[in-house]
Point group: C2
Chain length 139, copies 2
């Protein structure tokens, strides 16, 4: 199986760095610089890691019949000072809200995502230190 | 320097996997599954690689005073059949349109991005084979 993406520079004139992205049936915008109107590519990578991990974790919690009423994923990525300005360390905080959600179930879901299912995590973990933790709040 | 992202699951009810993403001053949506309304996290990674590389290349071509009138980046990513379904190989095709654009300038811009500037490329290249090529069309 394969994925495809096509990006078109919409700011050919001037100094802008805005690209319209078509991928699958979807559109998004990536932008960079002082007058950016959309996320930068590296911000998109951070978002992709959170989305990938979050989709795994909520899917597993649903399978485990956990009563989740709210779920957020917060990420912080530290970047190298020199080019290429890669992330050197990323922290992922899973915030789960629900009724009697089991800490063991959440820990297990995160472990399965980080070690088995999350493709973005697997690709980045070869070069970036990634640390996951979670907090559970009673609804 | 650091980046941050916050993703909120907007489909807590049901089986949906849609997350609203806030990163910096910007919003995007990531989604997955049959009824997805936005790009998946792995599609976002492919887009991010194209955006990162494309922003470098157009910036370098502008510095080299190349007369570019159109620019698109096309990516194809082959994915592993087994979990985690990482990209095993990504092809990046840079399509540059302009007046007398120098092939040596484009090749040099791509080389600088791939080896020095593009942080997304640097992070992925530790685990994914990435191949870049280009085509120039006279405007």
């Amino acid at each position: 199986m394969s994925d495809a993406a096509r990006l078109t520079l919409t700011t050919v004139e001037g100094e802008g760095l805005r690209f319209a992205v078509h991928t699958g049936r979807f559109m998004m915008t990536l932008d960079s610089g002082r007058e950016a109107m959309a996320a930068s590519p590296v911000q998109a990578v951070l978002a992709a890691l959170g989305g990938c991990s979050g989709m795994d974790v909520i899917s597993i919690l649903r399978k485990k019949r956990q009563q989740v009423t709210g779920y957020a994923v917060e990420l912080t990525g530290e970047r190298a000072a020199e080019h290429p300005r890669v992330y050197t360390r990323i922290e992922i905080l899973h915030r789960v809200t629900g009724h009697g959600v089991s800490p063991a179930a959440v820990a297990d879901a995160i472990r399965l995502s980080d070690t088995k299912y999350c493709s973005v995590h697997a690709m980045l973990a070869a070069s970036v230190e990634i640390v996951s933790r979670f907090e559970i709040e009673e609804a």
